[in-house]
């Protein structure tokens, strides 16, 4: 192999590695790449308030991640937020009266959807909707209620 050919190969490898790195930054590190929803089925959940829930937030059952939030949108008909949960296909036996609530990891951590399985024999399928949900805990509201309660107590 001639010297120039060797140089060409080395420089080519260098430039390829650089572009792969840029591509990686685009797809894996930043939000340019779309989520890979390959092996999952979609379930809808309506919430009064989703708080800080985002796309790609985890969906857990008994603490184990069983899916991801694929999409979040606002339903103008009933003034509620709809979260599309992508549940991985291997967890196909989740009862359809499962209870979904938005929880927070730690005091300031990210928010995620926690599922509490019900007792029904029917299971969640592609496109089914979770009927019972609990909204995100908004800290200001909780504090506000607490202060309001205290003030009422003081007035008596």
């Amino acid at each position: 192999m001639s010297k120039t050919r060797q140089i060409e190969i080395l420089v080519g490898a260098f430039m390829a590695a650089g572009f792969v790195a840029l591509f990686f930054l685009a797809m894996q590190v930043s939000n340019l790449g779309s989520i890979n929803a390959g092996d999952s089925y979609k379930v809808l959940a309506r919430f009064d308030n989703i708080g800080g829930l985002k796309e790609k937030s985890p969906v857990t059952l008994a603490g184990v991640e069983v899916g991801r939030v694929l999409d979040i949108y606002y339903d103008a008909n009933d003034f509620r937020a709809v979260a599309v949960l992508g549940i991985y296909s291997q967890y196909a036996n989740i009862p359809n009266d499962t209870f979904a609530k938005i929880l927070t990891a730690g005091l300031l951590g990210e928010q995620y959807v926690g599922l509490d399985p019900g007792g029904s024999d029917e299971v969640l399928k592609e496109g089914s909707e979770i009927a019972v949900t609990q909204s995100a805990l908004v800290l200001e509201e909780v504090i506000g209620q607490f202060i309001y309660g205290k003030a009422q107590e003081g007035a008596k």
Partner: protein
């Protein structure tokens, strides 16, 4: 009176140097069409400026990422916010540390070599020799080096950032037990392609221009003695580092205000 004269002299010589640097830049840019006709020259410079710098960039990238993972975890776990470790590592790498640390290492590894090489070419009268053969040394010798630096810097900075993200992943997910999915998901939802990544790339291109320009100018403008070459090399590293750090502030203020 004496000190006034000294001040005046240093001011004049500074202005003259600045002018020479700009003229040199113009001269190198005028050599672009010639360089495109001879890509082999650029190829050789890409090897010495880019490829041979990869190792130090890769090693520092991994270690900087690992340190970010450790430090970030230490602070974030106090607030119960370990989940955002990925964001913290990736944002600091892509926006700041990637371009800046790469530019500093680039100035130390490739810039000093460029200065020394060109300075020695001048000291041994190879540049004058080229001129005697009616070959413009600015076009033939300097332009490929400048372009190689400008092309290499963003690629090196991108490699640095990616390896740093994996270094942080290794420490955070592998050793400290942050959830793998959360690490990537939080990163992807918080880091923006154009706001964070592309601005980092712009930064690294600017640093590439500045570092290579300074290195070539110092080599080309040196006193053609062994002492002069050594001084030029030192000045390259010092001036490039100062320029990178100063410009970084200006660019950050412009981009992320």
């Amino acid at each position: 009176m004496d000190w006034l004269a000294r001040l005046g002299r240093s001011g004049l010589s500074f202005a003259a140097r600045l002018g020479r640097a700009n003229l040199l830049m113009l001269g190198m840019l005028r050599g672009l069409p010639q360089m495109i006709r001879r890509p082999r020259l650029l190829l050789e410079q890409l090897l010495s400026v880019g490829v041979l710098t990869v190792l130090i960039i890769a090693v520092s990238g991994v270690f900087v990422g690992m340190v970010l993972g450790l430090q970030g975890y230490y602070i974030l776990s106090r607030f119960g916010a370990e989940a955002t470790l990925g964001v913290m590592v990736a944002a600091s790498l892509v926006r700041e540390l990637g371009p800046v640390v790469t530019a500093l290492l680039f100035a130390g590894r490739a810039g000093s070599a460029l200065s020394a090489e060109i300075g020695l070419m001048k000291a041994t009268e190879q540049l004058s020799g080229l001129e005697m053969m009616a070959v413009n040394p600015e076009h033939r010798v300097l332009t490929p080096r400048l372009m190689a630096g400008i092309i290499s810097m963003p690629l090196l900075a991108a490699m640095f950032s990616v390896l740093g993200v994996y270094g942080g992943w290794f420490v955070g997910v592998g050793l400290l037990g942050v959830d793998e999915g959360t690490y990537w998901a939080q990163m992807q939802s918080q880091i923006d392609w154009s706001d964070d990544v592309l601005n980092g790339v712009v930064k690294s291109v600017v640093f590439g221009v500045v570092c290579t320009w300074i290195a070539i100018f110092q080599g080309y403008d040196c006193v053609p003695t062994s002492e002069g070459v050594s001084r030029a090399t030192t000045r390259t590293v010092v001036h490039s580092s100062l320029a990178v750090l100063g410009l970084d502030f200006v660019l950050t203020a412009l981009m992320f205000n």
